[in-house]
């Protein structure tokens, strides 16, 4: 009991000491007379800090180091603590504000009429939702003057954000958030990562000391922005990022905001005209000089900031604060080659608050963007919406801990949906803002328990049961990434070629891409739900066709297909992968039309060309039957071409049954390859 009383007494004494000493200590000779030099230096730092803090607009980040220096000398001054707290509130490391603000109010409860609001901010930024709400509520009486209604509305919005945060934090999403590492990040700011769909290339913006021109921005004191690039090495790690150099990077600010899924086109932000969007192409290994995106996208006085291509490359989603929107920055969509104006995505997506950092998933229907509205937990949060049945779904907050009470913007995600990238200020960073990789773990994978019971009284053997309902299958991204290298079959050299993506059912060209002139690499995103014909063509070569029939809901997959184009020579054979027949019949299905038209076009464009069309089967069924079926099918193709005006004399047909397999008939895949229609050049 005595011990208890002693502890109680000591606790009381400590509390008394804390509160009785909670008084602001002035930077005065009375207090620091014994260290005149130190006092002088501290006052000088405060003065310097104040000059930044009180400038218009205030330069909080420049003020901070000076204030912190003075704080070392005297940590107990209410005004200084308040100013450090406020400077942190406007810096990258906002959560650090709280300790200083709390100390300021402890040293002097009347340090600032808006102290409750500042405390609310500090608490919110530290995800202390309930305490933040209490401070915000306490800050309402301080609102005054003609701006009072606006101030109160802003406070109410903050309270709502805290409520959102409380709900979102209660159900955290399962992710790993990892610093992208020293190959990407530096002690200087890195942000705005953009990736190719297969995560083989990353581009980002950095303000590091080896920037082009190596000049500092007089406004902020940091180096000018430049764009950097890194690729995945053979070990799966990022290679050391390199500055893209001229002509993309200039002495001024150069920032990347978007990259086409195949990594062959980049979107760049320029400061011109209050903020414009530009576009640059990759030619071989070199990026060409970015070009303005034109008056349908850019405005002369408004801010066009971020943008993203749709996976077919035909449309652009971009952010602008131009007049006529729903409020602040909004997301618009425009057909790049079209004539129509940009269309505001409407109130499901855009809010009276800011929207920013738009990104389109390669599945062509899922959009990621940041917004200060919706159920943000503070600043910009990242949201996801899916375009289905002609409309956007209600945006879904990606949740804690991806989103934080501070700004979370410029998020991109891989085609597989497994990895996202964004930038953030975190304590494990290499300094300043860094790029982070998010690994999505999906819903919690439920463990399975086993137990057994002796269910029959007369039996000794227990019965085993697995407890809990079996978990459900996981939804993955519904897109197939097809990539590879196009080469010349004879020389084996990489080839620049056109890759047409055709919807076979509609006989409609969806998109065209070019393989890289130097590497021959190509990448196309094929959202599920279409029977795709992929045609690789280049002048002087016979076209190559591939088929990808991806039913609705087909799960994510990545297919690597290297394609060797053949020159038009006698004896050369080409498989027509997009010719389809009814089962067990020689009737051409309508999905074959695009391929047949290509073949017809080839014959028209090359008048001397003579072809043998041949049919082939696998070894299932009787050989004679197979031979007959394959011959009838080959004839059906010839008949089609003749009906379209091709001279009969230029065409022959043959049915080879299963006599010319291109793969072993022992597997399902092999048999599928063997069932084919092909042509052979017999004269040119």
């Amino acid at each position: 009991m005595q011990t208890f009383l002693r502890i109680l007494f000591l606790l009381g004494a400590m509390l008394w000491a804390i509160f009785s000493n909670a008084q602001s200590v002035e930077f005065s000779k009375d207090r620091f007379g014994s260290d005149k030099d130190g006092l002088k230096e501290a006052l000088r730092e405060i003065k310097e800090g104040d000059s930044w803090y009180d400038s218009d607009p205030p330069r909080y980040e420049q003020a901070l180091p000076h204030y912190l220096a003075a704080q070392k000398f005297n940590p107990d001054n209410a005004r200084l603590n308040l100013r450090i707290g406020n400077s942190y509130l406007h810096s990258g490391f906002k959560p650090r504000a709280l300790a200083y603000l709390q100390k300021a109010v402890q040293l002097n409860p009347d340090v600032d009429p808006y102290i409750h609001y500042y405390l609310g901010r500090g608490l919110q930024l530290n995800a202390k939702w309930a305490e933040a709400i209490a401070e915000y509520k306490a800050s309402i009486p301080a609102a005054n003057g003609k701006n009072a209604p606006a101030q109160i509305a802003a406070i109410q919005r903050k309270i709502t954000e805290c409520e959102n945060g409380r709900q979102l934090m209660a159900k955290p999403v399962r992710v790993f958030i990892d610093n992208a590492g020293p190959a990407i990040n530096s002690p200087y700011p890195e942000y705005g990562p953009v990736i190719s769909a297969d995560e083989s290339v990353i581009l980002f913006t950095s303000r590091r000391d080896n920037s082009t021109g190596q000049q500092r921005d007089p406004e902020t004191g940091g180096f000018f922005e430049d764009i950097y690039q890194s690729t995945r090495g053979a070990n799966g790690q990022w290679t050391a990022a390199r500055n893209l150099g001229a002509p993309v990077n200039t002495d001024g600010h150069d920032a990347t905001v978007g990259l086409a899924p195949d990594g062959q086109r980049m979107l760049v932000y320029s400061e011109d005209n209050g903020g414009d969007l530009e576009e640059a192409d990759l030619r071989g290994a070199a990026w060409r000089k970015p070009q303005k995106m034109g008056g349908r996208i850019n405005t002369s006085k408004y801010h066009e900031s971020s943008a993203a291509y749709t996976p077919d490359g035909r449309n652009l989603y971009f952010v602008s604060d131009k007049a006529g929107g729903i409020g602040n920055r909004d997301i618009y969509k425009i057909e790049i080659e079209g004539r129509g104006p940009a269309v505001n995505l409407g109130p499901t997506i855009n809010t009276p608050y800011g929207e920013e950092g738009v990104f389109l998933h390669p599945d062509g229907k899922t959009m990621y963007f940041s917004s200060e509205g919706h159920n943000s937990m503070g600043g910009y949060d990242i949201f996801k919406s899916v375009f289905e049945n002609g409309k956007w779904s209600t945006p879904e907050n990606l949740g804690w801990p991806i989103n934080t009470p501070d700004d979370d913007v410029f998020f991109v995600i891989s085609a597989s949906g497994r990895h996202g990238y964004y930038s953030s200020f975190r304590d494990d960073g290499l300094g300043s803002k860094d790029i982070y990789q998010i690994t999505f773990l999906g819903a919690e994978k439920q463990p399975l328990l086993s137990q057994e019971d002796q269910l029959l009284a007369s039996r000794i053997q227990p019965v085993k049961e697995t407890l809990l309902a079996p978990p459900v299958a996981i939804a993955t991204a519904q897109v197939t990434i097809l990539k590879g290298v196009v080469t010349d079959e004879a020389s084996k050299q990489p080839l620049e070629a056109t890759i047409d993506v055709v919807d076979n059912s509609r006989n409609e060209l969806i998109a065209s891409f070019r393989s890289n002139a130097q590497s021959g690499r190509y990448l196309v995103s094929l959202p599920s739900g279409v029977n795709y014909g992929i045609v690789v063509r280049q002048e002087g070569y016979l076209f190559h066709s591939e088929n990808f029939d991806l039913p609705t809901g087909a799960a994510y997959s990545e297919v690597v297909k290297d394609i060797a184009l053949k020159k038009l020579d006698v004896g050369v054979k080409v498989v027509l992968n997009n010719i389809f027949f009814d089962f067990d019949k020689a009737t051409l299905r309508k999905e074959s039309t695009a391929e047949l038209e290509r073949l017809q076009k080839l014959m028209v464009e090359t008048p001397a060309l003579r072809l043998e069309i041949s049919g082939h089967t696998d070894n299932v069924g009787k050989a004679e039957y197979n031979k007959d079926l394959s011959q009838r099918r080959a004839k059906a193709v010839v008949d089609y071409l003749v009906a379209k005006g091709i001279d009969k004399a230029r065409l022959t047909f043959a049915g080879y049954g299963d006599t010319q397999p291109v793969a072993p008939n022992t597997t399902k895949g092999g048999r599928q390859l063997n069932r084919r229609t092909e042509f052979k050049v017999t004269g040119k």
Partner: protein, 353 residues
């Protein structure tokens, strides 16, 4: 235990009748038929003193003297059953039935012998015959119900148990097993009621507590389930299965620390009990102690290399430990029948196999 009781009861009737005859004859100069009866009675006495081999010799001799002695066949069959000579037992029952087709005991005995031989379809038919000949003989319904339960025909099993308790309303086992059938038919409140009835008839039928707990869990009454597990463990503390099952109930109640304590207790009682290791892995996963979870699942797999759930759980743990072998584990689980493993591997960027 019940089986022995039933047999002795059936047997008792036969012995009483035989002894009545013995009283009327002399021992010295007996005709062969009476000599056979004497040997028969001697066999019965030896059987009752559990001298089965000696009893068998007496019945053999009795049958040599009197080949149409149905009761001797019956008793020799029963003796052979005790000696686990099931096939010869079946043959003796065949003879007994041939000589006395109206009786039911030989059918019942043959059913039991056939069941022991794994001839469950034939056994079911024999029990069925007994229910026709003597519908008020509860054990026939009960045992046929058990066979039907084992072939997962729970509705038919329940019907048999219904008849068993109708024939004998004090039949604790029949109530117990009907409860188990109801549990399998997702009739959890009825199951709870029948387990309760079984317990009231036979308070030492402790497995009924464990089973009632399981039924209560499935009925959503976690609290009641935990009370049953506690009641069981108050009486019997050496059963690792009981600790494992209470652990699973605690897990379901999100009491993961309590669950770990129970699984640990089960492991202390039997460190070869793979379920306890696997379940502790699951609880450790929930406690985000991924290292322990992986180690526990590894132990479960060492004890049972075909343990799909343990592979799946270890996959989860390894994912959180950022160990790429998670992919292998999920795929192995899929290979062992938990197809979800394939989805986990695909969704976690495991890449091609």
């Amino acid at each position: 235990m019940l089986k022995t009781l039933t047999l002795t009861a059936a047997f008792g009737l036969t012995v009483a009748a035989a002894q009545a005859q013995v009283d009327t004859v002399r021992a010295s100069t007996l005709p062969p038929a009476q000599q056979a009866e004497k040997l028969y009675n001697s066999g019965v006495a030896k059987y009752n003193s559990k001298s089965y081999r000696a009893a068998l010799l007496d019945f053999d001799k009795a049958l040599t003297l009197r080949p149409d002695f149905a009761k001797a066949y019956y008793n020799r069959a029963t003796t052979r059953y005790e000696l686990k000579d099931y096939q010869p037992a079946v043959e003796d029952y065949n003879q007994a039935i041939r000589l006395d087709p109206a009786g039911f005991t030989s059918y019942f005995g043959r059913a039991q012998a056939r069941e022991a031989l794994g001839q469950t379809a034939e056994a079911e038919l024999d029990y069925g015959k007994v229910t026709e000949v003597k519908p008020d003989y509860a054990p026939a319904w009960y045992y046929r119900g058990a066979l039907r339960f084992e072939k997962a025909d729970y509705a038919a099993a329940k019907a048999d148990f219904d008849a068993a308790v109708k024939a004998d309303p004090t039949y604790a086992y029949a109530y117990h097993d009907r409860a188990s059938a109801e549990r399998k038919l997702n009739q959890f409140p009825a199951a709870v009621q029948d387990y309760t009835k079984a317990l009231s008839l036979q308070p030492d039928l402790l497995p009924a507590l464990l089973n009632r707990a399981a039924a209560r869990r499935r009925a959503g009454d976690l609290k009641g389930a935990l009370a049953d597990y506690n009641a069981y463990l108050d009486k019997k503390t050496d059963n690792p299965t009981a600790y494992t099952n209470r652990g699973a109930a605690r897990y379901e109640a999100a009491d993961y620390k309590g669950a770990v304590a129970d699984f640990t207790q089960a492991i202390q009682l039997n460190d070869q009990y793979a379920f306890a290791w696997n379940n502790r892995a699951a609880a450790n996963l929930k406690l985000e102690d991924y290292k322990s979870a992986a180690a526990d699942a590894t132990k479960a797999i060492a004890l049972n290399p075909q343990y799909a759930e343990a592979y799946l759980n270890r996959g989860h743990a390894r994912e959180m430990l950022r160990d790429d072998q998670a992919c292998q584990d999920w795929r192995k689980a899929a290979e062992l029948g938990l197809e979800i493993g394939t989805s986990y591997a695909a969704a976690s960027g495991c890449g091609p196999e």
